[in-house]
Assembly symmetry: C2
Homo-oligomer: 245 residues x 2
């Protein structure tokens, strides 16, 4: 898959729901490692492929949490709203991430497509049945959720204690790490989300994000070819300031 290609052309090869779900991460994530074909087939019967364009909601906070999603491609943002409109973006998900994992009966955040997005939608009951039948599936989920819980500690530190400069630098490092994880180049970042989303993720305003990016640019650590791409020219510098150096 070519990097930075979130356009509509991406979907030419996606055809029927059944086909898509076979290629989704049920298998590739080793989620179903050791599950016999029979179990997979039953899960697939309770699974649909969902394709959304940018801006469309996946789930809404407070809705009954009847489905669990796996992002197959594209970027999804999660957020919570306050009554007066203040917003906290609590995460950006890319391919391989699950959303809607919950023990409670309602979703705790709204999820919305940032780019065109492809998702696998599992019926929660079916997934739970699969977990009951094949313990290795639940084991995998526990690992996933624990990893997420560990990652969240860093985000709390960022939100509670870092300066605007440190926040933005940390964000860029995170994007870079994720790009590497996906086999993309470390220094040329796709930034599909807008400045508003970035601000609401970092607990900053749009203006501060913009100012801070130009500050980092002027320091020579990044260049900004266009609004949705950032090139990292001095990663060490970003790493240093991201941890308060």
């Amino acid at each position: 898959m070519a990097p930075f290609d979130y356009g509509p052309g991406r979907w030419k090869n996606a055809s029927t729901a059944a086909q898509t779900c076979l290629s989704c991460d049920v298998r590739s994530l080793t989620l179903c490692h050791g599950v016999p074909d029979d179990g997979i087939r039953r899960l697939q019967a309770a699974t649909q492929a969902v394709s959304l364009i940018a801006g469309q909601p996946v789930v809404r906070e407070g809705e009954p949490a009847d489905h669990i999603f796996n992002v197959t491609s594209g970027t999804v943002k999660l957020y919570k709203l306050m009554a007066d409109g203040r917003r906290q973006v609590t995460g950006f998900l890319q391919d391989g991430s699950f959303l809607g994992l919950s023990h409670a009966n309602a979703y705790v955040y709204t999820a919305e497509a940032v780019t065109q997005v492809m998702l696998c939608r599992f019926q929660r009951k079916a997934l739970e049945a699969l977990m009951d039948e094949f313990p290795t599936v639940r084991k995998k989920f526990l690992e996933i959720v624990m990893d997420e819980l560990a990652a969240v500690e860093d985000q709390k530190l960022l939100l509670g204690r870092k300066t605007a400069l440190e926040k933005v630098a940390s964000f860029l490092i995170m994007l870079s790490d994720r790009a590497v994880l996906r086999g993309h180049p470390q220094h040329l970042l796709s930034v599909p989300m807008g400045r508003l989303d970035i601000g609401d993720y970092l607990g900053l305003t749009i203006e501060t994000v913009s100012r801070t990016l130009t500050q980092i640019k002027r320091a020579g650590a990044i260049s900004i070819p266009d609004n949705s791409h950032i090139r990292i020219d001095d990663r060490a510098y970003l790493e240093r300031i991201s941890e308060g150096g």
Copy 2:
């Protein structure tokens, strides 16, 4: 158990490790619901009771995560440090909460006793073996971790988007909700942690916490009999401002 009694007298009845672990939450949390006595016995062989006085560390960030703890009584704080000493307290745990749950090999936070604390210390390997043998244990853990992950979303909103006043009000409401959960009165709060810990939990300074508390006191919503107790006189007011009303 009487509320607000975190003093040394609390421990007169705690004697040997074996006895304590029998009474710890392995059973009462229905963690081991359906596990035969044999399994329980094996887990207990890999379990110790730990008693700590205020200020002592439970685990340190970065240490190999060989143990998982269950808080039996007292309050534990979790925190992360930055190189220059800035600190984010990421949580306060009370009885029933687990700490050290991790899929990674190292603890992601430092845990420290806020009051005198009693813990059950499980060997992680033993607990994992138990989970492998009795799937209901893993199921319970998955539920616990998912609930925690849901709760964390609110904390991110608090840290990223709430004002000092809203943060402190939210904190008081949280303490109140926890008190109720433990069967304590809703309006008389035990506040075992100091202002510094509260500040580092809310992403504020000690001075702002203090000022904000007196502000709320002057508004007539709370009274502060002493530094470690707060009486809520107008819960509705606190709830209103905690969500930005």
